[in-house]
């Protein structure tokens, strides 16, 4: 059996675990996959977080991807960072840079087993700040400057690809080179607030092709979280795991301890359990009904006869779910156009699922000006419900660590099949 087939049946522990420490965030990005903003009063305490780290160590989860919200606004963030690293659970954390002053940058440069990922969704302030909010570009750049001055080796610059920034790929690569950073690009997903803007922001079909071609030509040292595996149907498979890892090799622990199948699937339907319940995270990972179900063989459904099924595996579960498409059909961004057809064919009888988990701060949500590309198609799909975003697995189950050419660190040096 090929390794990727073993992955379908799940591993004894996750390879890629995302742990969102808080729903609190200083920003209000329009595409936030966790609809973050306000802290949840039920968030795990410092001691509960340490107990989770202890369990991850026992389960030999070698590193976690820490996010949020903005994880560094938790007062105990640095304490938890040290605790995790001291207990052989390496940390990669995503931040908008708000707390990365020169002193913290120096501290991070002295710390082993920590990787820092700065979010930037435009190569210019104009594009970035439309999505991430006023001043967020300057904050990110300042953090990158601080890390560079402190001698922190190869931070990541993490970009969610949108209709507005696909044309900036070369500029992102140049920015990464300037700061000695590694570029990481991931797919826009219709999760969280991303559902509200997916129609306007998800790359056009021509841009998907542009992105794929760019990755093939320049992607050797670019991380992707294996999130573009649906584009492999264009031809040459992209490096990484071409498989939805949700509940198999990937999962999410949210700030209140809820365990979801993947970071892009914060919805009751993908809620497997809670780390506070008896047996803790290990019990959820190993025995929850949901994860057991996700580890059953998949038939491919409507995609089964497609010649590209082996390379795209039907795409992203969350993308389908949050756009109201059947999970055993094509991805909404299927490169053969079947997703668009499926979206257009939806009638109003099917409600598009929305997450009940929303920590957005009150007030009107900013609209994203469409500056590039075609007018939004929202509402044109036969009067059906507004499309919601999709996306599921941005988190590579094989997340790359510093020095790796790919986000996925899959290496199979073994004999056998």
């Amino acid at each position: 059996m090929k390794l990727v087939e073993h992955f379908q049946y799940g591993l004894s522990s996750p390879i890629c675990l995302t742990w969102e420490l808080t729903y609190a965030c200083n920003l209000a990005c329009v595409h936030c996959l966790s609809s973050s903003g306000r802290r949840d009063p039920r968030e795990l305490s410092t001691q509960e977080c340490k107990a989770v780290v202890d369990e991850l160590r026992r389960m030999q989860v070698f590193y976690v991807n820490i996010g949020g919200g903005e994880p560094t606004v938790r007062p105990d963030f640095w304490e938890l960072l040290d605790y995790s690293i001291d207990h052989d659970v390496g940390v990669k954390f995503s931040t908008n840079g708000i707390k990365l002053d020169r002193k913290r940058a120096d501290q991070l440069a002295r710390t082993d087993y920590v990787d820092v990922q700065i979010s930037l969704d435009g190569a210019t302030a104009e594009i970035n700040d439309q999505v991430r909010g006023p001043g967020s570009y300057a904050t990110a750049v300042r953090a990158l400057e601080n890390l560079a001055e402190a001698g922190f080796a190869q931070p990541k610059i993490s970009v969610v690809m949108t209709r507005q920034n696909v044309d900036q790929l070369d500029e992102f690569a140049a920015i990464a080179a300037t700061f000695g950073a590694q570029l990481r690009i991931t797919r826009l997903r219709p999760s969280g607030r991303g559902a509200d803007v997916w129609d306007e922001l998800h790359p056009l079909p021509s841009q998907q092709r542009q992105l794929y071609d760019w990755l093939v030509a320049h992607g050797d040292n670019v991380l992707t979280g294996d999130s573009f595996f649906h584009l492999s149907a264009y031809g040459e498979a992209l490096p990484g795991l071409n498989l939805c890892g949700a509940g198999r090799v990937v999962c999410l622990i949210d700030p209140v301890g809820d365990v979801y199948a993947c970071p892009f699937a914060i919805h009751d339907q993908f809620l497997a359990g809670n780390v506070r319940s008896p047996g803790g995270f290990g019990e959820v990972w190993q025995n929850s009904a949901l994860f057991t179900e996700l580890r059953q063989p998949q038939t491919g459904g409507a995609c089964q006869s497609c010649m590209h099924y082996d390379s795209c595996q039907g795409g992203c579960m969350a993308a389908k779910f949050f756009t109201g498409l059947p999970l055993d059909g094509p991805d909404p961004e299927c490169v053969r156009g079947f997703g668009e057809a499926a979206l257009a064919a939806r009638d109003g009888s099917i409600a598009v699922p929305t997450s009940q988990v929303d920590h957005s701060r009150p007030g009107p949500r900013p609209r994203v000006p469409v500056t590039i590309g075609m007018p939004s198609l929202r509402g044109s799909a036969g009067g059906g419900p507004a499309m919601q975003p999709d996306k599921a697995c941005e988190t590579s189950p094989l997340v790359g660590m510093p020095g790796d050419p790919s986000d996925s660190r899959l290496r199979v040096p073994a004999a056998g099949s």
Binding site: M1, K2, L3, V4, E5, H6, Y9, L11, S12, S13, I15, Q60, F62, Y63, D88, G90, Y113, D115, D220, D226, S232, E236, A237, L238, P239, G240, L241, N242, L243, D310, S311, S396, L398, G400, M401, P402, G403, D404, P405, S406, D407, S408, R409, L410, R411, V412, P413, A414, A415, G416, S417
Partner: protein, 115 residues
């Protein structure tokens, strides 16, 4: 494209036969020498074999068969790589593939020569 040919992260293929030969120098790997699993490596048992993580390089590797796990775990108890392969009961026909895999593991620091 079949999954068997799907490249692994970093472009390395899942198929062991496609392990990038340029990634290491086979001449630098001497299977007659005594080896051990690096003390910086943790081995996590899985149904297919094991997942290994190197805390120094932060690299994940996969040992795709239980026999390879036995070989890697047994290295320190044997005077040579060959002896560890023998002790793990690897079939003769499979040994060249195992040596290639072990050379790759030596090149990425998962296993190392011991004095």
């Amino acid at each position: 494209m079949s999954t068997s040919a799907a490249p692994g992260p970093g472009g390395a293929a899942l198929d062991p036969a496609a392990l990038d030969p340029a990634a290491f120098d086979p001449a630098a790997f001497d299977p007659a020498a005594p080896f051990r699993c690096s003390p910086k490596v943790a081995v996590r048992p899985e149904s297919f074999g094991a997942l290994v993580y190197h805390f120094g390089t932060r690299r994940l590797s996969f040992l795709k068969t239980p026999e390879l796990v036995d070989v890697v775990s047994g290295l320190e108890h044997h005077p040579s790589v060959h002896a560890a392969i023998e002790a793990a009961g690897v079939e003769q026909s499979q040994r060249p593939a195992y040596l290639r895999a072990l050379a790759g593991l030596a090149a990425n620091g998962t296993i190392e020569e011991r004095s």
